[in-house]
Symmetry: C2
Subunit: 301 residues, 2 copies
């Protein structure tokens, strides 16, 4: 495997200072995990909201709340961008003038193709220092008050190095997430975006579409009054953050359009089975799906 | 409201003997709720499986496990059909020759239009004694061992009387479910089937379709390995019983085809918004859906 080879060649990066842009659930949990692993790591928080940085300081999640990028980036080993993805461009632009050649930059966004394009454009000849990343972890709550040191333990983190990414930078980010307890894997940004279009982005869109479909009807309140536990679970992800899902939908546009087309074709097959009253075909489809779903759930438990 | 008027006209049915066809989660829970309310009610269990009837007897859920329909139906106040819906026709046919004029028959199936057609055809001039019913309650587990006296407390039960249904029969079934602690409402079978097509049957089909879509791809195992908690909740109902959902899909064919068509139109709107990179339109749709979903969840909690 690539990562074990890398670890043979390159010594594990020594992490003395990390700068975290956006100290919310993800950034805050990375900070807590690093502190737990090594109390001497200096953690600098940066963010738009003075108040949430103060909360992060008060909670002991970060050591310093910085307002000056030049000072923050001095001697930084890693910069982690875990702010809302719409801010990635402006954060990279703000970092660029102060970025040392030995500072690694990584992110935690849900889409990777768009981030790599943006990082290449902004970081230019320092693009080799950038490693796209996506921790597959979340919680019902958001914000730094929800952060926890073990959020990433046993969870997947996908890194999406490009051919230009330096092996040193990749090894550092790998080491960062391993320290947080995560299972790290690597793939191209395109493969990543295709996988998450199908198992995450598509279900979110389907849930939003169902609620929109029902909520826009004249008898919506009657319909909702009879919705029960199946509806509750199916639509939980439709309660997600609208701005975040707008950004993901646009960032992963092509893969998501392909997914929606494939799904509509699947629904047309289902419709045809019902129209034809194809009892065997329907039962076989439901059987395949329920076996696959229950086997998956068992494998994850 | 119809039901309170009825209760003024007709004395609450005195329930001395009930015959339950299919003593599983639903039938067993009705039995336990009735016993809790009045220990003197005689509960007769009927079913295909000798073993599950013996379990029901051993657990004290039923008083008698009957093999003879004529004996079971003698002096019965109510017959509750809570067996898998595919058995409804044969159960009604078996009951008919032994059905007294003062015995009420009801069911617990998820679709009502088909059951009413079938009951009218089989019961003929005794169709007025039949009341279609649908308790909106379930649990992760099925079978009599999962039955509990409070399964229906605070849950919706929908009754679907037809113009031919006798007021006495309707009042009896109303009383049965009120005794179980349920909130009883009434509507036409057509209205019922339309409502449940949208808030229950459609989401089930969408979840089955997503899992089938993913499971049938060459890289299914890779895709499943990155599926996380959002996928878990969204697809929980895709783990449901294939035979049951085959029957529901066919029984509620027309309403379900309408729902699938409306949903495909909703997906086409969403695709168009993404294709056009309509940032405002996307966020507005996600915002409406997330507000509606979270308001609904709050109202149910």
């Amino acid at each position: 495997m690539l990562q074990s080879t890398l670890f043979k060649k390159i010594e594990l990066c020594e992490l003395k200072k990390i700068v975290i842009f956006g100290v919310g659930l993800i950034g805050g949990s990375v900070a807590l995990a690093l502190k737990k692993a090594d109390a001497s790591v200096q953690i600098v928080g940066m963010g738009r909201s003075q108040q949430s940085l103060q909360t992060a300081l008060d909670l002991g999640v970060i050591d310093v709340a910085s307002l000056d990028i030049a000072t923050a980036l001095k001697d930084a080993d890693i910069v982690l961008i875990s702010a809302p993805v719409a801010q990635t461009t402006s954060i990279l632009s703000a970092i660029k003038p102060h970025l040392n050649s030995n500072t690694v930059v990584t992110d935690a966004g849900s889409t990777k193709g768009d981030v790599l394009v943006c990082a290449k454009q902004i970081l230019g000849n320092q693009f080799s220092q950038f490693v796209g990343g996506h921790p597959i972890a979340g919680a019902e709550k958001s914000g730094v008050t929800a952060a926890m040191a073990d959020l990433f333990v046993g969870k997947n983190v996908v890194l999406t190095p490009s051919p230009e990414t330096s092996a040193q930078a990749l090894a550092c980010v790998n080491s960062l997430w391993k320290t947080c307890g995560a299972k790290v894997s690597q793939m191209s940004a395109e493969t990543h975006d295709g996988i998450f279009a199908s198992v995450s982005h598509l279900p979110h869109l389907l849930a939003f579409a169902l609620v929109e479909d029902i909520a826009s009807r004249p008898n919506a309140s009657e319909l909702f009054s009879f919705a029960a536990s199946g509806f509750r679970d199916f639509t939980r992800i439709a309660g997600s953050h609208p701005e975040m899902w707008r950004d993901i939908s646009l960032a992963n546009k092509n893969a998501l359009l392909n997914e929606l087309t494939a799904y509509q074709a699947e629904l047309s097959i289902l419709k045809k089975l019902i129209e034809n009253e194809d009892s065997h075909g329907l039962e076989a489809l439901f059987e395949r799906a329920s076996v696959a779903r229950n086997a998956w759930a068992k494998s994850k438990s």
